[in-house]
Symmetry: C2
Subunit: 311 residues, 2 copies
């Protein structure tokens, strides 16, 4: 109950759905404005001539209380009239865009075209939707996750949505690096946080690109940091993180994730069902914190956030 | 009944709603593919970073059988979820854009950005929507109707939609002229038509800009041409044509419109309620054809088209 009083300024590194749920948990338990979410932008892409930032949108909608509870992404109750018509007009329809969601892409694209940074645009959007937490893109410069597969190199959305994650990932690179810089705001949010939290997002394609940004890994390593495992009992709750870990030579386990964060975090939250991995995690030089990490409801999100702040 | 057999190739010059209804009438009575509609583009504008062509859209939707019957523009049954969300995100909402309609703007803008001409893009859109008639923008180059009012010079959509036509129009110019050229396809459609029809659209801001394009007035004058009055009993059925005629020094009457087309048309259709103006119209050197011109229903559109072809 009193957790938020000691640790006030929390900065969360987040990808899409899992990261957004964790963000919502912290937003619920912290005083308004004390949470900053740094969001992966390496999944961003262009569709219909629009700049789409899937992870920023998922965090934005979730923190605005308007995310679709069935999927975790998109806007609850959104319709798809424009997408259906776009299909009739010959446009690709493999990426689901709701009508309200489309408005976000349009507004973002228009403001970016007017010369504003993605950071500024995101701030305008979250203010419009009365989101109390700051949402910061990890970078204002383009960086794109590219995946090596037997079907060739695929950009993230082609791999993830268009091809339904069916390709085995044999390598990953982040196009745009090392030119892309973390934003000053993001670096400052990490450096000035009482606690940096790495969300239970895919460590390779959601958290990975943010940590690859120059100075970001060092900033996170220098902070008081806790990470949460996105792998529970060897499986990702959502998405291909488990298969990706294996195909890239890691363990599809909380321990495998913890290894990726060695030297970076002070503590590691693994699900209570994986508690027996705790001692091995601790041998990596981090505290192991077994907790119930499945965020099935808004209440569960807040409970996890509170437990992390208490620990 | 046999009209379409003698006069097969009809080219219609059209603005928005009235022009689109006339186009639908001819499309109903002519063999598929024999109608070409040349459409005003001087009302085009940018909104949400998208290229919007209101008159092309109205003609497109009407000929696809999907125009909103209540308004004559937009798509029947369209929803407005994106526009509502755009408003929440701080975008202007004075121009009504439905969700399906937005798809058209998106697709057009994307294809234009890819380097295709407005003519090519319009052809792709009408083909996607299975419209049997050709729809040709009058020009592939930007031209914009600018109106002089006591509130200063206003672009057309600001005057027409945002300010609700409340300003008295004291002057008109077409920005982009004389650089803008009519398309080769539009000029050819006029020159090769068995009959050129000037729709009952606003003669100043819908038909006017097309006739101002280099070579277009000469091409129309050289063809067998009939115009239809948009003014009935001194009033425009829709829009500000009547007030605009008066404030620019013309008569708000079928005769006033006929005078604007002197030397250009061989025949002039005026509504039967204005039949007494016939002799004065004929003194301008054109046949006067009193007909029922109010197109209250699809059947009425076809009847008017057939009567024109018969006359």
């Amino acid at each position: 109950m009193t957790a938020g009083k000691l640790t006030r300024k929390v900065t969360l590194l987040a990808g899409g759905v899992g990261g957004a749920k964790m963000a919502d948990g912290f937003q619920q338990v912290l005083p308004p404005g004390e949470l900053t979410v740094i969001v992966n932008v390496a999944d961003d892409f262009e569709l219909f001539g629009l700049h789409i930032s899937p992870d920023l949108d998922t965090v934005l909608y979730t923190l605005a209380g308007s995310a679709d509870p069935a999927t975790g992404w998109g806007i609850a109750g959104d319709t798809h009239a424009a997408l259906e018509m776009l299909g009739r007009l010959g446009a690709p329809t493999w990426f689901s865009v709701g009508d309200r969601d489309l408005a976000t892409h349009l507004r973002r694209t228009e403001l970016l075209a007017g010369g504003r940074s993605l950071t500024d645009v995101t701030e305008a959007l979250r203010t419009s939707l009365a989101v109390p937490s700051r949402i910061l893109p990890a970078s204002d410069q383009p960086m794109r996750t590219m995946l090596q597969t037997d079907a060739g190199e695929l950009d993230f959305q082609t791999y993830f949505v268009a091809r339904g994650q069916r390709d085995e990932v044999r390598g990953v690179r982040f196009a745009g690096l090392p030119e892309a810089r973390p934003t000053e705001a993001a670096l400052r949010a990490v450096r000035e946080a009482d606690l940096v939290v790495i969300a239970p997002s895919n460590p390779i394609v959601s958290i990975g690109p943010m940590l690859e940004l120059p100075e970001m890994r060092e900033a996170v390593a220098g902070a008081r940091t806790v990470a949460i495992s996105p792998i529970i009992a060897g499986r990702a709750l959502k998405g291909p993180a488990d298969r990706m870990l294996v195909s890239l030579g890691h363990d599809a386990s909380a321990l495998g994730v913890a290894r990726l964060y060695t030297g970076l975090v002070d503590a590691f939250v693994l699900d209570e069902v994986d508690a027996e991995l705790g001692p091995e995690v601790e041998r990596l030089g981090m505290r192991a914190l077994p907790l119930p990490t499945v965020m099935r409801s808004p209440v569960a999100r807040a409970s996890l956030a509170r437990a992390i702040l208490d620990a």
